[in-house]
């Protein structure tokens, strides 16, 4: 026995970071070129969105700084009236497309992250409750989930948008749009989290470590949070990643339907909505660059999610 112990001990206990690097996940990551490229793209995009105020040459959200006469400047060419030049051109309001993309991505990412977070919190909490408590709590939650599914996401979003417009004080409407988007996307997305968490909870609940925790007198809520939650997070993470891409796209779709981010503070989706109007008119850059950015962002997140799903599923290794 002692020899064996020695054997275990001789394997040094590395630091947290080193351990993470050494983990299966990290290993699988280092051997998946697609995942690495995607991660790099996401990282670059997220960073440049975060650092937009410092990177972007202009502040497109400051209406006072815009010169309408700069409108429709092609990429890299001087504007006919003002002679100013912009890397990726300008849009119909004379905004620098490059800066607007950076700032717009900030909004898209913020909406995406927050919406997924919201969906995740609601879904995980309800899923845990349904799975752990069972009985009528479960029935009620799962029926509510059914009802939620009955309302297609887009409709939910449109209706929520309507309500919010009705009840928010006008002075806050500008910011409201963002929060409404978050709420709308989040609310229509929680069901899948709830379902998955409920399923995983049912499995975990029957494991003996939960029994052991009950035995020593832990309260149900404490068990749910301290014991079960950490063990159901893997699938949640996978769904969250894929939902993030979906949420960003959903935001774009909603803005096409006219319920998206306000045009004065455009998100990527709003930019695409605006840009698609210029598809035939020759100002291709207004659509192309935001669309490519969205594609790169969503595709990379999706690819990462895909990889994560396979990597976290021990049965597929």
């Amino acid at each position: 026995m002692s020899d064996h112990q020695a054997e275990i001990e001789t394997r040094r206990t590395p630091g947290r970071l080193a351990r993470a690097w050494d983990s299966d996940l990290a290993y699988s990551f280092r051997h998946a070129p697609v995942a690495m490229v995607s991660a790099a793209v996401v990282l670059i995009l997220v960073l440049s969105a975060l650092l937009a105020p410092w990177i972007a040459p202009y502040d497109p959200f400051d209406p006072g700084s815009l010169n309408l006469m700069n409108g429709f400047t092609p990429p890299g060419q001087p504007n006919a009236f003002t002679q100013e030049t912009f890397v990726l051109g300008t849009d119909d309001q004379g905004r620098d497309v490059f800066s607007t993309i950076l700032f717009g991505m900030r909004i898209s990412l913020f909406v995406g992250f927050s919406a997924v977070l919201l969906a995740m919190v609601i879904g995980v909490v309800l899923g845990l409750l349904a799975g752990y408590l069972g009985g009528w709590v479960e029935s009620v939650i799962m029926r509510v989930a059914d009802i939620q599914l009955t309302f297609p996401a887009i409709l939910v979003a449109m209706l929520i948008f309507g309500i919010a417009k009705g009840i928010t004080p006008p002075a806050y409407r500008d910011q409201m749009a963002i929060w409404v988007l978050i709420l709308a996307i989040g609310l229509s997305d929680w069901v899948q989290f709830a379902r998955v968490v409920r399923g995983a909870t049912l499995v975990e609940k029957s494991r003996d470590y939960v029994q052991a925790a009950r035995l020593v007198g832990r309260r149900p809520f404490s068990i749910m949070i301290r014991h079960i939650l950490p063990n159901v997070l893997n699938p949640v993470l996978v769904i969250a990643t894929i939902s993030l891409a979906l949420a960003i796209i959903a935001e774009a779709t909603l803005s096409f339907l006219g319920v998206g981010a306000p045009p004065t503070k455009p998100s990527l989706g709003t930019l695409i909505r605006i840009g698609q109007g210029f598809m035939f008119s020759g100002e291709w850059w207004i659509l192309l660059f935001p669309a490519l950015t969205l594609l790169a962002l969503a595709l990379s997140i999706n690819l990462l999610g895909d990889w994560l799903r396979d990597a976290l599923n021990p049965r597929l290794r």
């Binding site: 697609v34 799962m142 029926r143 059914d146 009802i147 599914l149 009955t150 309302f151 297609p152 996401a153 887009i154 409709l155 449109m158 209706l159 309507g162 309500i163 919010a164 417009k165 009705g166 009840i167 891409a245 979906l246 796209i249 774009a252 779709t253 096409f256 339907l257 989706g269 695409i272 698609q276 598809m279 035939f280 669309a291 969205l294 594609l295 962002l297 969503a298 595709l299 999706n302 690819l303 895909d306 799903r309 599923n313 049965r315 597929l316």
Partner: protein, 327 residues
């Protein structure tokens, strides 16, 4: 089985009631229909009179009650916008949406299952990886943009396919179909692809994941150990088991095709219920919005029911226990 159906129906009615209630509580926020219904020269008195006539001055609970009362008699009122019975309008528009949904659903199902199986069986193959990545491109752009791009390429630049509408339709006993004319079929192509692409990707990924799980099961190993052919193993043993979980989600996805049709129909000016709904929202055509939401609920619930019944058909374990599957 019977008990199960009764329970589902009871739930469905509840769902419908809640849907309707929620919808009604929201209508007042969509805007004021009266503004649209009266011309520029109307007076305030006209506005007040019309609002009263329409019952819009009542609290929404009362409006909802009235709606329910009428709906129970199969009367959804007149569209504010078109002045025609809502049920007629829906009946007229439904075939377009259903045909589009059916074709895209079929496309999504066949493509999804086919590619799903392929990518699962050839998990590490180049082809599978290419398909996986390409399919992700399809869901990484918003549907409306894909639609517009397709129009740009195939209608404007190449001129192969029509950019809008349903083409010529043939009416058969109150049902208009585009399946029987060449132009009707051509008109279906782009919208169906636009609408089906997203669902196809979802189904494909789902099938792949489930199939990979199933291929790891003992009974698959055992089937191999018995020397069955790969084809028999993949299709007879694995696929059938894969379908059991796939059916629920696919069912829901197919349901949401009708919801997503809103966007596709808007882009392609496809004369279905989705376009109707968008118009209704713009006009604040409350009777149409209410009826549409109810109809969507009924369809979802119906699809759910069918899905659950399919479960019974596929999985013998459920047939015996009679335990409700899925939820």
């Amino acid at each position: 089985m019977l008990a199960y159906i009764i329970r589902r129906v009871a739930q469905s009615i509840l769902v419908l009631l809640v849907t309707g209630f929620v919808a009604f509580s929201m209508f007042s926020f969509v805007g004021d229909p009266v503004e649209n219904m009266l011309g520029q020269e109307r007076t305030q008195a006209d506005v007040d009179r019309l609002r009263e006539q329409l019952g819009l001055d009542q609290p929404f609970v009362v409006q909802y009650g009235k709606f329910l009362q009428q709906a129970a008699q199969g009367n959804f009122g007149l569209s504010y916008r078109q002045g025609r019975p809502v049920s007629d309008i829906l009946a007229e528009r439904l075939p377009a949406t259903l045909e589009l949904a059916a074709v895209s659903g079929l496309l999504a199902l066949m493509g999804g299952i086919g590619f799903g199986i392929f990518t699962a069986i050839r998990r590490r193959g180049v082809g599978a990886n290419v398909i996986m990545t390409l399919s992700l491109v399809g869901v990484s752009l918003p549907t409306f943009l894909i639609g517009i791009l397709l129009i740009y390429v195939f209608s404007v630049e190449l001129g192969w396919l029509p950019s809008f509408g349903r083409g010529d339709v043939v009416e058969i006993g109150g049902w208009t179909t585009g399946f029987l004319t060449a132009s009707g079929l051509k008109a279906l192509v782009l919208p169906a692809i636009t609408l089906g692409l997203y669902q196809m990707t979802l189904i494909m990924r789902l099938v792949r994941t489930e199939m990979l799980e199933v291929l790891r099961m003992d009974y698959i190993r055992f089937a191999r150990a018995r020397g069955l052919r790969e084809r028999a193993i993949n299709f007879r043993h694995a696929l059938k088991n894969t379908l059991v979980p796939v059916i629920t989600i696919t069912g829901l996805q197919l349901g949401s095709i009708i919801a997503f049709a809103i966007i596709t129909e808007t882009v392609f000016q496809w004369p279905g219920v989705g376009l109707l709904f968008i118009n209704a929202i713009q006009f604040v055509d409350i009777p149409v919005m209410a009826a549409y939401l109810m109809m969507i609920s009924v369809m979802f619930v119906g699809i759910n029911l069918i899905v659950d019944l399919l479960y019974f058909a596929i999985d013998p374990r459920l047939r015996i226990d009679g335990k409700a599957g899925g939820h």
